[in-house]
Symmetry: C2
Subunit: 488 residues, 2 copies
């Protein structure tokens, strides 16, 4: 994989012995955006969900009037009010009915929900003018079309720019980037169809305008396979199942509720994530005392096989099209069976109390919790490696998105809150798979731990020590702006 850009500086980085072409971002590049977007009179951002609202505002602010950014919504949508509050207006043509905005735009960023994309894609495709650049932030629609043996219209560009973080992070870090040049969420980009010959530069301009510190290349198919798998594994479902199982285990071992919560959920979303973010996975391990390292190694080795089995299952389900069909079927049931919230169970009620009395410095770094979490996380890394994903995608979709975007949100508001408030596709996936991680850890990993060190094959941990991920994360960390996301 490689690409050519005449506007931005392509740079080769060396990740774990492989070369990848990337583009670094930053505010100093914003004056190149009009050139990269030559021929684009209007960018239509369709939808006002977390990604739509964040991206529309970032694009408008970065382009600063050089290219018009218009928001398109379903007629009658309740989001008109919110878009107006953010400064988009019917009067100046920066806000309107979605199909009118699509017809009037040279670049159409389709950021409506997956369900809306599958429902409306025929009409949307029919509305795109030849030569339009259709942009996606997620390859779901490609997976849906592929499963039905359908394709995108032949006469348009199809590109993806996929921020490796939730919409709220895309906006929050961009705003923090006003003070610290380059703060933002990394993004992958993919050129699926290029009829204009400008698809690469348009996609890169989009990514730079969002504030991505660096943009790496992938394919739309590779993107949706890793994205859907990632949110069903360590990014959301996995971390949810891991902490539920740990919380229960700590209570079974006699801990009080608050203490069990601190050692499980708080430890993951707090110190464990912060240390990984700055010092990588090996940095986390090296932070531990000698005794704690041995606990970490055993917990890691016990959890890794469980994570590997489940992440392979999830990947198979995504790749076969089962998971996409499942999301579509679930969408049809939601009217009758709306998704309930998960935050009423004992654990999350305890969590609310714990967060209310939180002293950040007193949150323990549990070596057991760290080992279990990292074992499940590394199982995802190895699944993606086995399936041939680009190293940047693996690092971002398994580690960086977790510790720099999602976990900090979970830390501020609770894991249950994040699961209850993410996209429908992610939320369905989290509800479907979290309990699987919980059960398999409880059935296999913890009983092995209780049988003592001899019952655990340490090979997975040995492989961890010299794993290629450490070099990949080291290089990624060098490109990371020196600012943490701030979440209220």
């Amino acid at each position: 994989m490689d690409f050519e850009t005449t506007v931005f500086e392509k740079e080769y980085i060396e990740l774990g012995g492989r070369r990848e072409a990337i583009v670094r971002g930053g505010r100093h590049l914003f004056d190149r955006l009009p050139h990269a977007l030559a021929g684009v009179g209007q960018i239509g951002v369709i939808g006002w969900g977390p990604q739509g609202s964040a991206q529309a505002q970032n694009l408008r602010d970065s382009l600063n009037g050089t290219v018009k950014v218009a928001v398109g919504l379903r007629s009658g949508s309740r989001s008109f009010e919110a878009a107006r509050a953010a400064g988009f207006r019917e009067e100046d043509g920066t806000l309107g009915e979605m199909f009118e905005v699509i017809a009037a735009s040279d670049m159409v960023l389709l950021l409506i929900s997956d369900a809306a994309q599958t429902d409306l894609h025929e009409k949307i495709f029919a509305t795109l003018r030849p030569g339009t650049t259709l942009g996606l932030s997620h390859g779901f629609l490609l997976g849906y079309l592929a499963d039905r043996n359908e394709t995108f219209p032949a006469e348009v560009d199809v590109v993806g720019v996929c921020p490796k973080g939730m919409g709220a992070s895309v906006r929050a870090l961009y705003l923090q980037g006003a003070e610290v040049n380059g703060a933002g969420i990394n993004a992958s980009f993919a050129v699926h169809q290029d009829v204009t010959g400008h698809a690469v530069d348009r996609a890169l301009a989009w990514s730079v305008a969002l504030g991505a510190p660096y943009t790496f290349q992938t394919t739309l198919r590779s993107e949706y396979l890793s994205d859907l798998t990632g949110e069903r594994a360590i990014l959301a479902a996995g971390v949810h199942g891991v902490v539920e199982s740990l919380f229960r285990r700590y209570r079974e071992n006699g801990m009080r509720d608050e203490e069990a919560f601190r050692l499980s959920a708080e430890s993951v979303t707090g110190p464990i994530s912060k240390i990984i973010s700055r010092d990588g996975l090996r940095g986390l391990y090296e932070r531990l005392s000698e005794d704690d390292r041995s606990v970490f190694a055993q917990a890691y080795a016990a959890a890794y096989p469980v994570g590997l089995e489940l992440t392979h299952e999830i990947y198979d389900e995504v790749e076969s099209g089962n998971e996409i069909r499942s999301v579509v079927l679930a969408g049809k049931r939601l009217g009758r069976f709306p998704m309930g919230k998960i935050d009423q169970s004992t654990m999350w009620q305890v969590g609310q109390k714990v967060r209310g009395n939180r002293a950040e410095s007193e949150i323990p770094l549990s070596p057991f919790t760290a080992g279990i979490y990292c074992g499940v996380l590394m199982a995802q890394v190895d699944t993606f490696l086995a399936k041939g994903h680009p190293y940047s995608e693996i690092a971002n979709e398994s580690v960086i998105e977790a510790v720099d975007s999602l976990n900090p949100y979970m830390h501020a508001r609770g894991i249950a809150y994040l699961v209850d408030n993410c996209s429908t596709t992610a939320r369905l996936g989290a509800r479907k798979w979290a309990s699987r991680f919980d059960y398999l850890l409880t059935q296999l990993a913890y009983p092995a731990m209780d049988q003592g060190a001899a019952a655990i094959d340490l090979a997975p941990f040995t492989a961890f020590e010299d794993h290629v991920i450490h070099d990949i994360l080291r290089v990624c960390a060098e490109m990371r702006p020196p600012v943490d996301i701030f979440v209220e």
Copy 2:
């Protein structure tokens, strides 16, 4: 649906206001079997799993030499030894290599695993002689073929006889039937293709020879939809998830481990199942004191919506083909990731101890546990009703198979034992869905219970009181032989 038989007595029964044609079984009918099997010189039973071994022996014993019963196994299979121990012999042609047995049989009962059926079906189809009657005990293969737009060979009969109980029960109750005429496991039958004109009588003869107290009619498609859904819902995964969630809840409420186990798992597989088996679901309710009835009603009403949502999801996944594809994909992973056992977790370790010291008469009939279990069970009944399944199929696949076959086995050996030892398809399903029942009950039903009576809409329980299932179960109970399964 209806059928014609010249050999057995077709009888119409009135179930919940609907008429269904059935055939009652019994040992007094065994002398009619040769007539019903006219033209069949040999029945080949392919496979020595739980169904294969049970059915081969029941058929041989019932036919008593009038029609040859031969067992066919993969060459080199370790099951040759077990088949020999049960009296099948290469020397007299009652035991042999599977394709040789298939080629030599006029009726081929394909009782190998689902994975083997999907792997080998092309060669098997090519080996069947025109005019052979192909028999299945489960519609999985039809679902698999339908998903691939394939069909059975046109020149053979295709029939299903599907005992509504596990293989071990099919044999155990048949043996008990030597003392009590008609003891056995009910079966459904389906004629999918009839090229010989004898398909109905051959299928009925098969069912009668297995010892089915009564045989009701369905289609192969209706069978696999209800069978796969049932084992993923209340029959295996559902009951597993229900008792895991209850055990945790009782412990959280301060109960000791043994007490929590008795009130959850023991109560379901013991008194609750026994009472339903003899007196139906309303009989269970009426057994309760006034106060307990109110607890039952609330628990039922809180659990039912959770059960309904999940059972609809499972049904959609089965009907769409997702679940079958998922089983096939999982089969390909099993070499690398063998299924772990679930019986090492705390709950099942406690269970082992409790069963060891069990005093049957001291197992409590918990109204809370009964309400939760019945709510989830009735959600399956209502899902099948909504999907238009025959009443006999609904009653057998949701209630009778549970309380007369599976739950007694679970009671003797543990729910975890049953899940760890059922068919690969059922085991995969139980592992996939049990935790979903657990999580949704914990997230939605129990918090509602804790908020008090006002938080619960009693409508589901009101619908239960006059539900059509009670009349269906009453009629089915009249046909039930007066013998309980005995499990060591």
